[in-house]
């Protein structure tokens, strides 16, 4: 905020003067650090540098939604669920800005589900981060729309009975043009995914597996803890066959539209799915559906990245066409209907 010479390649230049107030040990700290480091890294090359004044973080309500306060950029901490809509208006009015949207699974998928799917379908130039901790944190521990069935919480003492959303499947179904997943324990992976999402023209959705160490501790341990990663994380790489495992001995095939994990030796390398960022959405959907619990090998990285017309560009081109013969004139407007003179 102050006018001292700022070195944007350093994390402190992206850190606001506000005290971070998440619970100690919260996964959000790691995500915040990754975001600050990512901006610092981008600043090292003038071609990728984004300026703090041209960056806006927009959030709704929830623990994750405090995020904008901690970035030394412009920011809006708004109301529950509405951040994709508010950010859409900002992006339409100001296509020159880098607009990020931050929210949790309750904010984005419960109260804000409608705004999320429409922002994705329109392909407005927004980068949307969905912090998925599968629980309501700020309201102190109720189940969320991504909680597993049977979740025992204060509001579901006998276990939750509604099946969860898979955010990646939902985003693919909304025809999002960029969909990715990362997790809060791997800064390098987060930075890499954030950079790709940021560079994507159009709406990007990044699901971040995020640990709530108070109300849902260890939800993703079976997948994202260092010891489990080799066997449980499937790294998606554009153009490469989908393989994983400590011995690189497992892979993914899609049969009759359904993805499944196989032993490479059983099917042969050529039978494995070659991951394509621009594959048919049905393929992205099949990959998303590969893991709908917290015990199965789970794909990470970019599920989908396709070129499609971006909304603000389309809107601006309509305005430019309408102004081809010069800007509007108020007097002409007022006399555009039938007039008479007394």
């Amino acid at each position: 905020m102050t006018e001292v010479a700022v070195d944007l390649t350093k994390r402190p230049s992206w850190t606001s003067d506000q005290d971070v107030r998440w619970c100690p040990g919260c996964g959000d700290y790691g995500i915040l650090a990754a975001m600050q480091f990512m901006h610092a890294e981008l600043a090292e090359d003038p071609a990728t540098l984004v300026k703090p004044e041209d960056t806006v973080f927009v959030s709704g309500i929830g623990c994750a939604a405090r995020f904008p306060y901690y970035m030394d950029t412009y920011g809006m901490h708004t109301i529950h669920g509405r951040s994709p809509a508010i950010a859409t208006g900002l992006a339409l009015a100001r296509p020159d800005l880098n607009v990020w949207v931050v929210g949790g699974d309750g904010d984005m998928l419960s109260i804000g589900g409608n705004h999320l799917i429409h922002a994705l379908r329109r392909n407005v130039n927004l980068t949307i981060l969905l912090f998925n901790n599968q629980i309501y944190g700020l309201t102190k521990g109720q189940y969320s729309p991504t909680s597993e069935v049977g979740k025992v919480t204060k509001s579901t003492p006998a276990g939750s009975i509604d099946p969860p959303f898979n955010p990646i499947s939902l985003a693919v179904g909304a025809r999002a043009t960029f969909v990715a997943r990362t997790h809060d324990l791997d800064r390098k992976h987060m930075i890499d995914v954030f950079k790709q999402a940021h560079a994507h023209k159009g709406a990007s959705l990044v699901e971040i597996y995020q640990n709530c160490n108070v109300f849902n501790d260890g939800a993703f341990d079976a997948i994202t803890k260092r010891a489990a990663r080799d066997e449980m994380m499937i790294n998606l790489v554009d153009g490469e066959p989908i393989r994983f495992g400590a011995e690189n001995d497992k892979g993914v095939v899609i049969t009759n539209g359904r993805a499944e994990v196989v032993k490479v030796d059983d099917v042969g390398v050529d039978a494995l799915v070659v991951h394509r960022n621009d594959a048919d959405p049905s393929v992205s959907f099949a990959l998303a559906e590969l893991a709908n619990d917290r015990q199965s090998p789970t794909p990470f990285g970019v599920f989908r990245a396709v070129d499609a017309p971006e909304y603000t560009e389309a809107m601006d081109s309509q305005l430019a066409a309408a102004q081809a013969n010069g800007p509007g004139d108020l007097h002409d407007l007022l006399t555009s209907g039938a007039t008479w003179t007394v």
Binding site: G75, T78, T88, G89, R94, H115, P327, A338, T339, V342
Partner: protein, 598 residues
Amino acid sequence: MQLTGDRFTSTSALVGNDIATLPEFPAEIRAPQGTLAGVSAFQVHISDHDIHTPGDISDVLVAMNPAALKSQLIRLKGGGTILLNSDAFDERNLEKCGYEADPRLDGSLDGYTVHEIAMNKLTVEATADLDVKKRDAERSKNFFALGVVSWMYTRPLEPTIEWVESKFASRPAVVSANVSALKAGHAYGETTEMFANQYVVEAAPAKPGTYTNITGNTATAWGMIAAGQLSGLPVFLGSYPITPASDILHELSRHKNFGVKTFQAEDEIAGAGAALGAAFGGALAFTTTSGPGIALKGETIGLALSMELPLVIIDVQRGGPSTGLPTKTEASDLMMAMYGRHGESPMPVVAANSPSDCFFAAIEACRLALKYRTPVMLLTDGYLATGAEPWRLPDVADLPDISVEFTTAPNATDDEGNPTFLSFMRDEDTLARPWAIPGTPGLEHRLGGLEKADGTGNVSYDPGNHELMTQLREAKVNGIAADIPLVEVDGDGDGDVLLVGWGGTLGSITSAVNRMRDEGMKVDRIHLTHIHPFAANLGDILRSYRRVLVPELNRGQLVRLLRAEFLVDATPLSKVQGLPFTGEEIVNATKALLEVTA
């Protein structure tokens, strides 16, 4: 019928008559024709002098079928003229609207001058030489009726012909059928000896100037475009379609050459939200809706109020509660405009009083929003929105400058002596906070819905600060009272009674007051544009009258505000029928008040 009514109105305006209209149509798109529920009516009042309302009762009723006759006869004066389409008076149609006997035969039209015209048949004959099917030809019968009435009232046909040619340019068969029907109707009036009279309504004496015919929704849209030009800011509309407000969105969408961005959102909440996002980005942002939409936008309006960003919310009021009467007028959202948010959340409320006034009211709402960094509610209603009147166009150069300056440099110094930006350091006069938009280096800041510390704008849970901020927000809005025009009394100032109106009742109240003055009564009148805050002199005016009558198209909302604010014994006059007041209703209520308090 809406289209034919609209053409008659436009032509009348073009020949210089004063006009006032009341379109009335069902909420259903294709309501069953021939039933009472399906009647689409259009009341138009034309005059050679200044008029204020569509008229209490009509001189002529054109009934295209029995249902139209049955539902509208009550609005025809005794001895009035009925033109009815006799082709539509068959047993089935009579039954559909509940006529047990043919009203043409059972004496129920005695006392009226009835002209039966076989409009279907004559229209089909008139279009016989054209390449149109009988069924399609019959659709032109409204233009036949328009031709007959145009002859009766000596309206030229050319403006309508030109309009038809341009409107249906891509469908030449429709053009020729409609034009033939129109001319045939006119010729029918001329050649039959059915009509004893032809009426000539001369141009109304009017102030010199250039006039156009305008509806409230169009005027509102143009007002927002004008406000964009006058403020130098790009206009952004976030909206979701809703009757009767959608035409503002439609009209704005047609004027992209002004750099106007219109966004049809996924719902009402997103419409308001997108507008608020655009406001943060430095746009002149607004959202349009009707009552149900305001209920949904409430939380976003509260956020705008807390963030202290400019946002104009336009409520084209309709009959409520819930879905209510979507196509009928009512002014029952005033309390919601005033108080329909959680927490202590005062915001300015401005109300338009005629179709053309919507233009100026929109500019005024924008002026207040921009200058005071606050959401502002602009109230219009279904009657203003769809009704039309001649409008003497303002000189663009006379419109107010409502430009604002963004903050582009630090406005304070921190403890270490470095320049810094305090996002809630207020202007001493207006109490408005600085508006610094993204893209401005060095002024990066975060706005939120959490309570903010006075000055810095940082999140604050401090008890004293919350009370201070609550009071500051209130004082900021109250301070607007010094920045709006005083209320002017129409009358001598010593009348026996003061009529207080707001919004779309201006025409009804004015014509009632004129009628009472003609009878020798001493009646004064004021009309409020600013409802929150009230004009500074309102209390003194109210207290100077022994009797105050407040006609409103609700159950008495303004009257409660007046009584609460000024402790005056104001009397309500309520009407909630989805229709404007008739002059007679106001006259009778005024006389009754004078009588009981004599």
